[in-house]
Symmetry: C2
């Protein structure tokens, strides 16, 4: 017979092209992790994928003793953390005000938590990754979107609403138009789209010095990272400038919030030292006063597992 | 015989040109408030002024029962809140690492707290002013410098060091040089200096339409406020643009921290509706998503008494 304290927790990370699934042991070990390809799924399709995953984890439906104690879901966009509703999501354009936590609970009988992607990322990195045992941390996710989450006095902080959307603080007044409609947000300067546009400009200028041939139209942050590792100067410069802007934004956050640590994750962060070194240098250069505590700037540790693992963690302990 | 719970608390607000002093009753009433002119005082001079004020409040030195239960001091600059040392202060250029709390305690025998000016402002507005009974508030002080303080879950928040320096978050990448050495900080765009420069530009352009004659060299934020009230368009435009930039910065803070409320104080905030209306409009226009909680933007209530009153409050109750 399975006792509650012996049971697994299952986490889902709903992205734009696939759903990542993690089954965690009671001691927070990763028992299983896998990915299901499901581009822009409808709610029905997500529910079916969750059913399948719970069956794999040994759950037989409500009314039975289950080796699963709870379900966690992380999802980009506006999530009402109290009700577990997806208000809107860039990955799920057809979803509007979907009470996802209620729908999952009705089908499975399991306690269910739905949070935004930055929250589950932060929880994973806090409990199992780079930010272990810290109390005051700013988490930043760099990808198509730029998001974040705040750990304040050892608690994830939401303020009066949806705190943590640091990708939508203006860094360049009257700067480029952002996906949110505002101008000059951090996301408009260091999101994937901005990085690719910057790389195309440097690629055009550095034309003659290139070692390999690159097609401007097919550049992605991953490709630019690879090119930087191969010594392509246009790619190194792309991340140097991206890192500089990121670092200046981190300095503003450091002056405002004074965290112990920044944890930087998301696909773009895989550029590694090409991005982190200029970011750290720019942050230190732009921060106030020498007497202040300079926060560390470190990469996230759990990689593409962070979302699903963090979602599962909601049912292993309180935040 | 005076009981501790009956005793007064005395607060000092050390500015660049004078020291403001408040004596608070145990029930947080303002028993006395006065100002002593003392430009750029040395530590000795501040200590003498504090002695005088305590005598006025009835304190006779250590060893006697005193009607004063504690001393609070607020001061601009870098203050170590734990030790009560003034590390450095723009108002007190000769002070470096002065252990002010210890010095006062040695002379008076009274419990003493020294905090930065934004902290004492925030405490006053939280306990007695605009932010009463709120738990999540961003306080902004607008003057020569632009500072702030954060109320998070009902506690003033300092993070790992000196949180709240929101005047030194970059709003305009590679923008004008700031007093801190960085470029494009909020302070470099909405501090007194920036407002005066902006007003001079608009004054030059609007030249023919002026109703009264204004000397560009003698403009101050107060004068520009007066001119706006008298319908001078160059002055109205100055605060409209200043408010727009402030509002865009508030939107970034709102997206990041999601406070219930912004409380705006400091000398520049006396421009009132000429500043607050464009700030609110720009904030709402630049904030993410319609579903989010839109914070209120309200003026501080205690005016020039906030610093001294807030400093005294530290000894009437826990933060």
């Amino acid at each position: 017979m399975v006792q509650k304290h012996d049971a697994f927790s299952v986490g889902f990370d709903i992205g734009g092209t696939n759903i990542k699934i993690a089954v965690l042991t009671p001691k927070r070990g990763i028992h299983r992790f896998w990915t299901v390809s499901q581009p822009r799924p409808l709610p029905e399709e997500v529910l079916a994928t969750i059913d399948d995953a719970l069956r794999i984890a040994g759950h037989k439906g409500s009314g039975f003793r289950s080796p699963v104690r709870g379900v966690g879901v992380g999802c980009a966009g506006l999530i009402d953390a109290n009700s577990g509703s997806v208000i809107e999501s860039p990955n799920l354009p057809q979803w509007k005000h979907v009470p996802l936590a209620d729908l999952i609970h009705q089908r499975t009988g399991l306690p269910t938590t739905v949070r935004n992607d930055a929250d589950v990322f932060a929880l994973a990195e806090w409990k199992l990754g780079t930010a272990r045992k810290k109390t005051d941390v700013v988490f930043v996710t760099l990808g198509t979107g730029v998001g974040g989450a705040l750990l304040i006095n050892g608690h994830l902080y939401h303020g009066a609403g949806f705190a943590g959307e640091l990708g939508h603080a203006t860094v360049k007044l009257d700067g480029p138009r952002c996906s949110c409609g505002n101008r000059g947000c951090l996301e408009s300067l260091v999101g994937s789209g901005a990085i690719v546009r910057r790389a195309r400009r440097y690629l055009a200028v550095d034309g003659g010095k290139r070692r390999k041939s690159y097609c401007p139209a097919s550049l992605t942050p991953e490709l630019i990272s690879d090119a930087a590792r191969h010594g392509e100067q246009w790619a190194v410069r792309t991340f140097a400038e991206t890192g500089r802007i990121l670092g200046i934004a981190l300095a503003g956050l450091a002056n405002t919030l004074s965290p112990e640590l920044f944890v930087i994750g998301g696909g773009v962060s895989r550029a590694g030292t090409w991005l982190f070194r200029p970011a750290r240098d720019a942050m230190i250069g732009a921060m106030l006063g020498k007497a202040r505590a300079i926060p560390r700037v470190l990469p996230a540790r759990l990689g593409n597992k962070a979302g699903a693992v963090g979602a599962a963690l909601f049912h292993l302990e309180d935040e």
